[in-house]
């Protein structure tokens, strides 16, 4: 059975003469996918295209087999939380979510049951019948998430979903994303906080100036950037000796010794050969405590692929 996929085929969107996104081709499998890129790079345009709020000028979009031009079917499988705090302040969290569900066509008892479930999931049960004017920023952010998940969509599109959440709620929300992804749903989110993107995502899409700069699993993307040597932090007792052994290899471009003389920052052009060398050094009796990739992160990819272009 083929897994449901989000497919962008040569998608371009222009706002008059302003570029939104250009010639985007993507295949996103279920799981957590993060969109990362600078302000104005096209992340929100991409999300609006996914949810059918805007249509591409060129190309086609299929969301788990449903065209983005078929809102009636698409919206039943899609939950969208925008980056804006758009919930009316005078309404209660419960009435807001229930009304949204009635718009989906659920009968009132079902809508109320689902609204309650969504609010409970987001930890808002106690505040459900309070007016949203009394909610904190984090609570309103969670209401935004609750309205997106209340109709139990298969595809969640979340624009900056972690903004305004305190660290504890952030961690709980990330667990929730993983739970949804584990059910085979698509969780597509955008974030500026790159460490979070790193921690959350199964795959990332780096976007700049309306174009996809890189896409895939973070490690795979990093491996493809061959013009930049990979960075590793090596912790060991005999750092100077290990550095000398490594320097004999031609794929090593730079080694920096740490101040405590028990650590090295190694820049290697070939990851595989570096792995083999460090294994050999360890087998020769040199105590190696740890080898950690220093640039297998969205931060590093961002800097290599987008930061330098700016």
């Amino acid at each position: 059975m083929t897994e449901p996929t989000v497919i962008f085929e040569e998608v371009s969107k222009f706002y008059g003469e302003v570029l939104g996104v250009n010639r985007i081709t993507l295949r996103i499998p279920p799981g957590i996918t993060s969109l990362a890129g600078p302000n104005g790079s096209g992340k929100t345009t991409l999300m609006n295209l996914m949810t059918g709020l805007i249509h591409p000028d060129h190309g086609s979009i299929s969301m788990r087999g449903i065209s983005s031009r078929d809102p009636e079917r698409l919206m039943h499988i899609t939950g969208y939380a925008t980056q804006y705090d758009a919930a009316p302040r005078w309404a209660t969290g419960f009435s807001f979510i229930t009304t949204g569900l009635l718009l989906f066509g659920y009968r009132r008892p079902e809508a109320e049951e689902k609204a309650w479930k969504a609010l409970e999931t987001l930890g808002l049960a106690e505040a459900a019948h309070r007016k949203m004017a009394s909610y904190s920023k984090g609570m309103r952010q969670r209401v935004g998430l609750a309205q997106a998940i209340a109709h139990e969509p298969e595809l969640l599109v979340l624009d900056e979903p972690l903004n305004g959440l305190d660290p504890l709620v952030r961690a709980e929300t990330i667990v929730l994303f993983r739970f949804w992804a584990a059910q085979g749903k698509h969780v597509i989110l955008s974030s500026h906080v790159l460490q979070e993107v790193d921690a959350i995502s199964d795959r990332v899409i780096l976007i700049a100036n309306g174009m996809i700069v890189a896409e895939g699993k973070i490690r795979d993307v990093r491996e493809e950037i061959q013009e930049r040597p990979s960075k590793f932090i090596v912790r060991c007792r005999e750092a100077s000796r290990v550095a000398a052994l490594l320097f004999s290899e031609d794929f090593i471009t730079e080694i920096r010794l740490n101040e405590d003389r028990q650590g090295l920052l190694v820049l290697a052009k070939d990851r595989e050969r570096f792995s083999r060398s460090i294994r050999r050094i360890a087998l020769d009796g040199h105590e190696i405590d740890s080898v950690i990739p220093a640039d297998e992160s969205v931060d590093a990819l961002y800097e290599y692929l987008i930061g330098e272009g700016k």
């Binding site: 809102p71 949204g100 009635l102 989906f104 066509g105 409970e120 667990v175 085979g184």
Partner: protein
């Protein structure tokens, strides 16, 4: 939160279980869904004291008119009055015209009060993507918002008007009904035209201005400014066709034809109808341009 990590291993990548099954039960059809927005808006509007107060005040005139209908159909009560008064107390086109004129003014104020809250807050809070990420099109959204005002304004226009007509028909008998059914139909159609015009003006103002106070001013200004412009044209060029630019005058001219009341000098019914449709088309165009889920940069 109620959910815990998958298998208690929070650091693992998601493992796809693919066991999720979404809701497969029945859902309401398009028209049933369209009623959700007006219901939500009405509940909100009826929580506002000023709106309720205005509706109550607007129903005083229909009550007086009902008393007039009662009086007109009780010859014994009129015995003590002179013939001139007795001929005045008659339920005819003039009576319904007087009823409509007063209620039409209240409808303008109610539209200026209730209309601005329709679209402006959704635009100001970027809430349109929320609506359109439901199975709801732009025309569905606009229709729903139109229904909010249509319902509110109906309460003080054709609904009490129809009550008066029914009361008169019940008291005066079948013959009166068959001789005057056009009055009832004209009154309802005339009010529907007026409500459409007001609703579109209020929605366009709400969509364009974004700020509620400005949008309310737009509704009032729409009638006053166009009325002023039409008078200016008539005065400068010494003509009467300028009246057609005044939506209130043009509507009144159409009502006169429907209720068979002598009209004032000015453009005829076809010109007035055409002008009103042009104005309504332009207002609808403003709404169409403004009600978009995403701001379009030009």
């Amino acid at each position: 939160m109620a959910i815990t990590a998958v298998n208690g291993q929070e650091d693992l990548m998601a493992v796809y279980r693919l066991g999720y099954q979404r809701y497969q039960g029945p859902v309401a059809g398009r028209w049933a869904r369209l009623k959700v927005i007006p219901r939500f808006a009405w509940r909100r509007l009826f929580q506002q004291r000023l709106t309720v107060l205005l509706i109550v005040i607007a129903l005083i005139w229909p009550l007086l008119c009902a008393a007039f209908v009662y009086l007109a159909n009780n010859a014994e009560l009129l015995k003590g009055f002179g013939k001139q008064f007795q001929s005045f107390v008659e339920v005819n086109g003039d009576f319904f015209m007087a009823f409509m004129k007063v209620q039409a003014v209240f409808a303008v104020f109610l539209a200026a009060l209730a209309g601005p809250g329709l679209i402006a807050p959704d635009l100001a809070n970027n809430a349109l993507p929320l609506y359109f990420s439901r199975p709801l099109t732009r025309s569905d959204y606009a229709l729903s918002k139109l229904a909010v005002l249509f319902g509110m304004l109906s309460l003080i226009t054709w609904v009490p008007g129809l009550f008066l007509f029914g009361m008169q028909a019940a008291m005066a008998g079948r013959e009166w009904f068959w001789a005057n059914w056009r009055l009832g139909a004209g009154m309802v159609l005339g009010f529907i035209l007026w409500i459409l015009l007001l609703s579109l003006a209020a929605m366009a103002g709400s969509a364009y201005a974004r700020m509620k106070a400005v949008a309310g001013g737009f509704v009032l200004g729409f009638f006053f400014i166009l009325g002023g412009v039409s008078e200016l044209i008539n005065g400068i060029f010494r003509v009467t066709w300028g009246h057609a630019l005044n939506p209130a005058w043009a509507s009144h001219r159409i009502w006169c034809a429907m209720l068979r009341v002598d009209p004032a000098a000015g453009p005829g019914v076809p010109a007035c109808i055409s002008m009103l449709f042009v104005i309504m088309f332009l207002l609808a165009l403003v709404i169409e341009r403004k009600v978009r889920p995403v701001e379009v940069i030009s």
